[in-house]
Amino acid sequence: MFGVLLLLSSCVSHPDVPSASKDAKCQPDIFPDYCDVTVPCNIAPLNFMLLKDKFDECVARFTTADGKQQTYGDGVKVQIPEDEWHDMLDASKGKSIKVEVWGKKKGEWLSFKPFEIRVAKEPIDEYLSYRLIEPTYVAWSFMEIAQRNLTSFEETQIFNNEITMNDRAKGQCINCHSYQNYKTDNMLFHVRLSNGGTVIVNDGKVSRVNMKRDYTISGGVYPAWHPTAKLIAFSTNLTRQAFHTSNDNKIEVYDLASDMILYDVTTDSVTIVSNDPELLEVYPTWSPDGKYLYYCKSVPLPEEMRDKDIRTTYPKVQYNLYRRSFDLATHNFGDEELVYDAASSDKSVTLPRISPDGRYLLFAQGQYGCFHSRHRDADIVCIPMDKFSGSALTIEASSYVDLSSLNSKGESDSYPSWSSNGHWIMCASRRDDGNYSRVYFSYFNNGKVEKAFLMPQEDPEYNTFLLKSYNRPEFMVEPVKISVDEFSKVFDR
């Protein structure tokens, strides 16, 4: 019985193309929008659907660069078997797949203008990890850090917040998974509240550490692994959140204080990188060669606002981007350099990431604050680093790379990152409905950025059914090999 069910569910529908149809004179309104996107040559099938309330059926014909054709369609959904899809990608690498779509509406077929899926030669990193969490406010229950194979639809759990929770009243939060150089033998994530600590994997060995020292304001928060050494830069933060009573942004997350530390994994030692008592340092990230530490730092508030509650001054808290050179031999940092002056243009910069070749800088920019995933005006900005010659770049520099095809209009785009080959930009965006963040990818080549596309799912409606946000998506070139159970054992010790 089960076998029969499996067999039935694995049957693929290859419907006939409608013999007669009316010309719709436009491209189809499909979800996700994969019209004229550029995709990696190893991505999972781009399954899509026509809107259920507008159409009853859908047929799509895919024509690969070698002229082979195949049709798909089951109800309003187009779901392509993985092996057939990868054959299509292989046949069209560096070229395009033509997609013709027909939609049936009240018994009549409409034929839409064909669109193309361009297949880039460059693959995307095979794995992606993220935290799945409701876009909630204060309360939470189950959350997990999961990893997804981007060449298929396989998703597995890295860790969850229930297995080691020993105090229900406190609850447990897990966050900030981070990897060294896209690999997973050296990685970390935090466990907060009940049974808390930072779980660090050092050459495959798991340990739990408490990074709080009497000279730091908190344990490590936002991490950045040094690309070659067993060093992790962290910000330390006293973070709070407050809620707008009548504002589209709904939530403000802000820091009362934040500094930066350097954690030496080998010696379990913590040294202060910067701890200006007046200003807030956050979001460290290393240059790919490990010679610079980039980070965001707030600018001083206007004199008349300095003693006021942050709940009234928050719209004036703005961050610029700085960097300091780093000497690996001595672990000494050089003087601070202002790289990008956002505040002078009434903007605030967060979450910097340097491309693997060191030529480009990505960050999220909004009008104020450090938590742009909740700011509807937040967009991703890309700046060529060759424009930085020692004097601070300004907002004009953001026009060198046009990211309009990556950014959404009026919804938060945040948490940018690069794939390990530097050809794929990823961001977390709430563009689909303003509430649930989803992962979007864009092809990047020599400063040119193609239209962003949503991470594919086996069922295109999955994005509607999933009432969780994708939080902190991070590329990985290999999966995390340590099981949930193995991770949990460090909490027994």
């Binding site: 297995i163 649930y436 059914f465």
Partner: protein, 591 residues
């Protein structure tokens, strides 16, 4: 001999009939509970919800249970399906345990346990996190009995296969798989097979945890499916009683069912079942009335909300809030609210469980006061912990519509459209009052504000609003706060916004009281009705006579309720809940 058999059959029939009638009656009087069960039970169509449940043992049965709970939208239909499952349990159970003649009536006891489990929850219904609770235990028990029946139809030497099978189906049946092994083992004479069965039973959870569920806490794998009533702050043992009794009775029937073919057994089982259900069932009029009010409020049927409120003797805080929203929409808030009553009674509950407006209806209340961001936040906090049930999905849709987030409306309604009874559901048009009140609310940053006094304080601060309905609400809530400093500016603004209108009864009562109580405060002179003024004087006379050393506030309140319970003054002296000074009903009256 024939006569004894006839009597025996007669007693069996009468007992069954009596029990069936009792079950039908209990199901009938719990219709509102079942509707609420569907409203607060999560079932999300699609892979994420399915996979989430299947990642835990007993998840499949929970999934089935969650789907079936949707049928409670039509309480009679859901109850009918539940009763049909119990009828099957009776039939299959009597076959599985080989209960002949009168002994078959023993199967009334498991049915009584299952019936109890759906009517003894009380306020747990609002905070229950067990998916598919309402049907999953009945479905699981039926599956267990079917297995037992089939197993006992096979030769005894095959039983070892069934013990192993019981172990294998542990991820599906959870604790019922263990019960199956145990029942099968105890009905037979102990041999090495039964010993193997018992060993499998003891180690089943451990083995499955090691093999398959290592990403779960061991506690969540042991006795999977056996309902535990625990939240981070509360726990209950009484709600688990029916399941322990169910397990115990099943073993008892396995052990001695064959000896119970006695004429008295049906009568005893029927009576025992009725007593068991009656003693554990949650009975409280406010509990049901509250559910009805929430149901009508969800549909914006404010007339019915008012009807229920008018009949309620001692309404709960939730009922008071819903009644006041109803009066805002139907008119007469400042003329009728204190007549109907604003003193919220505590909920009754058999354990320490704390449930308040927050869990029962807070998003609905915040939505209707136009406090949309708070409504969304609370909706998320609740749904995220208790499940994205229709109640929360509907509220999400309505809030999104009020905020103009069309895409979000579409997402939530798409989820609802997969529900068998919400296929064409659309959020109702946003009421004018909600739109107006949304405008009355300026933006500021707040902390975690969840209490009902937050609503009272927030709305009472709308005293400068140039929106008519907001000025009325501000005046009303400043009266609820019993705060003269809030009252005067609110009254001024109200009169300015309602120029030429009547001076509402309760506003007059408050006016007279505050003029009398705080004459030093900057106040305004407005003519009031003589009759109301005289009544206030009479109230004060009576009150001064009641005040005697040693007499508690509660006692005075009780004695004055009949004559003055419909006035603002009564609320001010005996019922205030949101002012800074809280009167204990047991404290002595200060002069």
């Amino acid at each position: 001999m024939i006569n004894i058999s006839k009597v025996s059959n007669g007693i069996l029939c009468v007992s069954l009939l009596a029990f069936i009638s009792f079950v039908a009656y209990i199901l009938f009087i719990n219709q509102e509970v079942f509707y609420t069960a569907h409203d607060r039970s999560e079932f999300i169509f699609g892979a994420p919800f399915f996979h989430r449940l299947l990642s835990k043992p007993f998840g499949l049965i929970q999934y089935v249970g969650a789907w079936l709970t949707q049928l409670f939208y039509r309480p009679a239909l859901g109850a009918g399906v539940l009763a049909a499952i119990w009828a099957l349990i009776f039939y299959v159970g009597s076959k599985a345990f080989r209960l002949n003649g009168s002994a078959a009536a023993m199967m009334l006891l498991p049915v009584a346990c299952l019936l109890t489990s759906v009517v003894d929850l009380g306020y747990w219904i609002y905070i229950l996190t067990l998916r598919g609770y309402w049907f999953s235990q009945s479905v699981g028990y039926l599956a267990m009995l079917l297995l037992l029946w089939v197993a006992r139809c096979t030769p005894r030497k095959w039983h070892i296969v069934w013990y192993i099978f019981g172990f294998v189906v542990y991820p599906v049946l959870g604790w019922f798989a263990l019960l199956f092994i145990l029942c099968l083992a105890v009905v037979e004479k102990i041999t090495w097979r039964e010993i193997v069965g018992i060993i499998l039973l003891i180690f089943a959870a451990l083995i499955w945890h090691r093999l398959f569920y290592s990403n779960l806490k061991f506690d969540d794998v042991v006795f999977a499916g056996l309902p535990r009533f625990v939240t981070p702050t509360d726990s209950s043992t009484h709600a688990s009683i029916p399941f322990w009794v169910l397990g115990g009775i099943s073993i008892l029937i396995s052990l001695c069912g064959r000896y119970l073919d006695k004429w008295i057994v049906p009568a005893l089982c029927s009576v025992a079942g009725i007593i068991f259900v009656s003693s554990l069932m949650f009975k409280d009029k406010n509990y049901i009335d509250e559910m009805r009010m929430v149901r009508y409020a969800e549909d914006d049927n404010w007339k019915e909300v008012l009807n229920i409120a008018t009949d309620a003797k001692k309404p709960t805080t939730t009922m008071v809030f819903l009644k006041n929203i109803a009066l805002m929409n139907e008119g007469g808030l400042l003329d009728r609210s204190f007549k109907i009553g604003n003193i919220g009674a505590d909920i009754t509950n058999p354990d320490s469980l704390f449930v308040s407006l927050l869990s029962i209806a807070s998003p609905l209340v915040y939505y209707n006061y136009g406090l949309m961001n708070e409504a969304i936040r609370l909706n998320f906090e609740m749904a995220e912990q208790k499940g994205f049930s229709p109640f929360y999905l509907k509220m999400f849709s309505r809030c999104a519509l009020a905020n103009g987030d069309e895409k979000l409306v579409e997402r939530y309604t798409t989820l609802l459209h997969h529900h068998p009874f919400y296929a064409n559901w659309k959020p109702a048009k946003v009421a004018k009052n909600v739109v107006d009140l949304q405008r009355a609310y300026s933006d500021e940053l707040t902390g975690v504000e969840n209490s009902d006094s937050y609503i009272v304080n927030t709305v009472s601060l709308w005293r400068d609003s140039d929106i008519k309905v907001a000025s009325e609400q501000a005046l009303f809530y400043s009266m609820l706060r019993c705060n003269s400093q809030c009252f005067w500016p609110s009254l001024r603004n109200y009169l300015k916004m309602h120029e030429g209108g009547d001076f509402p009864l309760h506003a007059q009562e408050a006016y007279i009281l505050f003029v009398d109580r705080a004459p030093e405060e900057k106040r305004m002179m407005i003519p009031v009705e003589e009759e109301i003024y005289n009544r206030y004087k009479h109230f004060c006379d009576i009150l001064s006579k009641q005040v005697k050393p040693g007499k508690t506030i509660g006692k005075v309140a009780e004695e004055m309720r009949e004559e003055f319970g419909d006035t603002y003054w009564y609320y001010y002296f005996f019922g205030r809940q949101y002012s800074n000074t809280v009167n204990s009903k047991d404290s002595e009256i200060a002069s």
